[in-house]
Amino acid sequence: MSEPVTLTPPSEHPPISDHVTRFDPQVAHRRVTPRLRPWRWIVSAAVLVVLTQFIVGVFTNSHYEWNKFWAYFTRESILDGVVVTLQVVALSAVVGLVLGVLVALGRLSTNPLINGLSWAYVWFFRALPLPLLLIITFNFSYFYPRLGVGIPWGPVFAEVQTSALTPLAIGVIALSLNEAAYAAEVIRGGILSVEGGQIEAANALGLTKARQLRRIVLPQALRSIVPAYGNQLVGLIKASSLVYYVSLLDLFGAVYVLESRHPESIVPILIVGATWYLVLTAVLSVVQFYVERFYARGNARALPPTPIQRLRNFTTSSYVRLTRRGF
């Protein structure tokens, strides 16, 4: 037998408060004034000082050579590079996503062969470093000079010479194969996060597997897939700079060529390259934010605030804090 649980008798509790203060009974009808949080203001001021110093430095430091920025930012070779980067990223994102969905479904399949193959795909393409994969794809024609469709051990209906692949095609193939392996895991995780009762309800209504996936499972899975896949796409934008290995002049390639030709302007050229990548990533993040809001429908009683709404909330709440104290 274990010891019985005993509670301290109320008489032994220390008194909560033994003094009574007199106050205006109307306080019960007034909203509680929020704390002033002085440290928040002090820390913010300190950060602002450092930040201002840095920004002023960026504009006054002559090594930045801002007068050259716009010319390089809009230089034709750089803009061509941006277009190539966008092409590579867009194509690899789409092909990688489609392939990733297939591999994810394969990983969730009950067929052991399909399941094992999908697992092997993820293992293989996650294991290879991207530069190596790009170079292997580049030299693919040494492994398999021709690829064709036909009857096994029988006649061939159509075939392509693999040496005829363009650098863009090689870059997109390699990045897509790599992207699909990661996307598959992101998508599989999203699908697993959907509660089992959902599929049971869909089965009980006699919905086909395809319709269950399209109407019920994927829309719910996307809630967790979108943030993770957004992360993947940012990675893809940066990984696309590796297509330089297959002699494709993307943004990074264009920056690299330009700075080796104009060593006197290395700082402005590097800033131009960094700015372009920041712009591409910023556009993607904005799109991601609104896609996430879209898939949050029905999941939260109130949708997450947009940055503008958040700023408005902050200013009104600060205003209340200050005016209540007579500032």
Partner: protein
């Protein structure tokens, strides 16, 4: 000797066995339900009531035995001397005739109440989209939620969600409705609104099979109460007999705990 299916019965369950791993949940259940009957299945937790209910629309496949609804075997067909699994397509079609309401509602959270109810109508091409939405709102009105069609499930109370789930189960006009502990996940003050919807359905003559812990409700609406324990039907009969003067000691023991 040949067996025949009783086409006059709304539901016929014969010798249904089901195990999960080494744990036997159903040990040869036999049950016949007449059209228009309201059957309440009661029993201790873990007795196999929910599993039995789920074999009726083939969410669980019996290891042995069969289930027939209005004279049609569910999920299987007889070929020669054995039962053979039906195609998924055939099972999907059979499920359209059987409504199922789960304990945890399982509404689709990404769809509004109206879209939840319209989904099976659109999926099975019973109606085009606009007609399906119209019908969905009619069905929601039947469960007292005609004005909540645009709400997402999470904006509704538990009782309202369960009523939407009932409207969704009614959309395909099933001949048989299954309820798996429809009020167990609800706050006590919300139980009444769901029970009153089920009561109305019982009055319309739909065949209902309700797994429930609400003994008082079973007594009120059921034509037959079935007591299940350890995967077997221990006894069945009118509520007045099973709930008031049970023949079996196990039934008496169970009722003494829950009443």
């Amino acid at each position: 000797m040949t067996a025949t299916l009783n086409a006059a019965a709304a539901l016929e369950i014969r010798n249904v066995h089901k195990s999960f791993g080494t744990r036997e949940v159903l040990n040869g259940v036999d049950l016949t339900v007449n059209p228009g009957d309201v059957v309440a299945i009661i029993g201790p937790s873990g007795s196999g009531k929910s599993t039995l209910l789920r074999t009726v629309n083939h969410l669980e496949k019996p290891d042995l035995g069969y289930v027939a609804v209005h004279g049609d075997l569910i999920g299987v067909e007889v070929r020669g001397t054995h039962l053979h699994e039906l195609s998924q397509r055939a099972v999907r079609h059979q499920r359209t005739r059987i409504g199922f309401v789960a304990q945890s509602f399982n509404l689709f959270p990404n769809l509004t109440a109206r879209d939840n109810v319209a989904e099976p109508l659109i999926a099975h091409k019973r109606l085009d989209k606009s007609a399906a939405f119209e019908r969905a709102v009619e069905l929601l009105a039947k469960v007292g939620l005609g004005d909540r069609g645009d709400a997402y499930p999470r904006q509704l109370s538990g009782g309202q969600q369960q009523r939407v789930a009932i409207a969704r189960a009614l959309a395909l006009e099933p001949t048989l409705l299954l309820f798996d502990e429809p009020t167990s996940a609800l706050d006590p003050e919300l139980v009444g609104e769901v029970l009153s919807v089920i009561r109305q359905l019982a009055a319309t003559g739909t065949t209902l099979i309700i797994v429930t812990h609400e003994i008082g409700f079973a007594r009120e609406v059921a034509d037959t109460v079935v007591f299940i324990d350890e995967g077997l039907v221990v006894e069945q009969g009118p509520p007045a007999q099973v709930l008031t003067a049970p023949h079996h000691s196990r039934t008496r023991e169970f009722l003494s705990k829950v009443l």
